[in-house]
Symmetry: C2
Subunit: 108 residues, 2 copies
């Protein structure tokens, strides 16, 4: 069984989090997880190949944004909301609120 690297809370870098969230596909992914809760990798309707999705998930995980839990063949994704909130209060929540508002403006 593969062990997936997750940075410790103290090792999460602000610039890495911002970079991770600055990609349109990744922020949509994060927003979806924020709304629906923990959820397997394959259930996201994104216009990208499986390998590309894997790359984005990895980017988010290594930045400390996502937690990835393996269950059978599935990888369950969840937000590290608490860790992020403690480390950078208000950052994730305000970004998610802004992204949500934008999605209401221009849905899909």
């Amino acid at each position: 069984m593969k062990i997936l690297y997750h940075p410790k809370k103290e090792d999460i870098h602000l610039t890495a989090v911002l970079a991770a969230l600055s990609d349109p596909i990744r922020i949509r992914l994060v927003l979806d997880i924020a709304k629906s809760g923990e959820r397997p990798c394959g259930t996201f309707e994104q216009p990208v190949a499986k390998s590309t999705m894997s790359h984005h998930v990895r980017t988010l995980r290594e930045a400390g944004v996502l937690n990835v839990r393996v269950q059978g063949t599935q990888h369950l994704l969840s937000l590290r909301s608490e860790d992020l909130e403690e480390r950078f209060p208000g950052v994730l929540s305000s970004i998610l609120k802004a992204a949500e508002a934008l999605e209401r403006e221009a849905p899909r």
Copy 2:
């Protein structure tokens, strides 16, 4: 006199703001301006060439983070805090707070 492009408030994109702030040099620049107020381009002690600085300032301006005001040969930089706060409430302020906290942890 050159006219510098600044996006209208409604045209500021969240991902562009996050990308602009995800660079270490740029977020330090923004943090300095947040602390000291409006300030000419040349007064920042960054370990980069003048042309590189110019590129970063442009990136921040075109993302909607900075306002650039020309006065003689100087370019005065200020944060578009109000516009950003209205468009993405809490985002800039929480990021700045986090960046400030980090700077206290590891100064320079």
